[in-house]
Amino acid sequence: MINNEIIKVKNLNINFNKHRVIDNLSLSFNKGETVLITGRNGSGKTTFLKCLGGVLFPDSGLIQFENKVSKKKIGIISDKMSLLEDYTLEQGIAFHSEIFGIDKFNFSLINQLNLKYERKIKTLSAGERAIYHLSLIISQKPELLLIDEIIHMIDAYIRELFLDALIELINDVNTTIIMVNHTFSETGRIPERILIMEQGRFILDEKRENLNKKIKKIIINKEIEEDIPVLFKKESSIQKEFYIYPFKEEFNSKYKYDFQDINLTEIIKSFIGGCYAKKRV
């Protein structure tokens, strides 16, 4: 098999004030894949993304890029990043093009929003800013694009422009996209691989298309056998809901329960719910 990896992470650790934020992570990302990282607030998602982008140095461990990936081909979009605030859009474009050696700037997104090039960057709204920033990065034809919690902040029209631009990047440049989002529904149909983070580790790392085989739900009014792995349990006065993970085919013949398929929204909710439940214990 051809080695398709673009980033390899080995035994990554990050501590803040003796508190472990990233806990011995090892995983890799493939060229051209679109990954969603989700999880509770404070689970370490953004810290991990910053580390991938080289904004933050780990206490120990390694992040290796495939040797052909140049720094100029890595883009990061975050609402917390400051751009050249006092520059006009036009000046910002000229500066960015110079630094990243862009010979053909992609103006289409900026034009679709009718943004005036003589405006100062600091006057842009959150959504306009996201699109402007994305235009700068798209023009770099990035091999890796890291997006931190941006999609939920922007309105439906701009979100569609944003997603269309990502689709074009994946198709035309085969960009690897890693996005962190706590509301995943806005990223809709694009992610192919889902990672859920909790206390600096990934408690789920699965291809989206395989998820419905690995996690099921039973609705019942009694307790279930102990050897069925329960990820999360929801109880009300009339019924109990058990979320089963990892589900095995043999459960179907062994137990006479109605193991139901659930969708991605419910899957992520049950994982995060499981994290809260564990914390209470």
Binding site: E33, I167, R189, I190, N212
Partner: protein, 124 residues
Amino acid sequence: MIKFNINEASPVPLYQQVKQAILLDIVSEKLNEGDQLPSIRALAKILKLNPNTVAKVYYTLEQEGFIEGKRGSGYRVKVLKSRIDKLKISIIEAELKDFLEKASCLGFKKKYINDLIGRLLNDK
């Protein structure tokens, strides 16, 4: 244009939903031999899907012999009578199995179901 009813709230994987929509149009002859399918980029943008998902659908459909891709000219429908017939049979069998399961849940005997189907067929 193929009618896609993609639902991300469904537990059925997205690529399966897209594949089913195309197959259904081929079986019901809304898509015919030689018809051009939208490019991967265009379909991804219309359905807001990852282009890799669309590529996977086209790739599997090509492997299964329902469409044909040519470098530079995109994908076209390839209708093989025997394959289509097989597919039609598998669709109707699945529906019937579903029906029989429901009937047995409701407690109907085989003889009754058999007679019922015969009677309904004659009414038509």
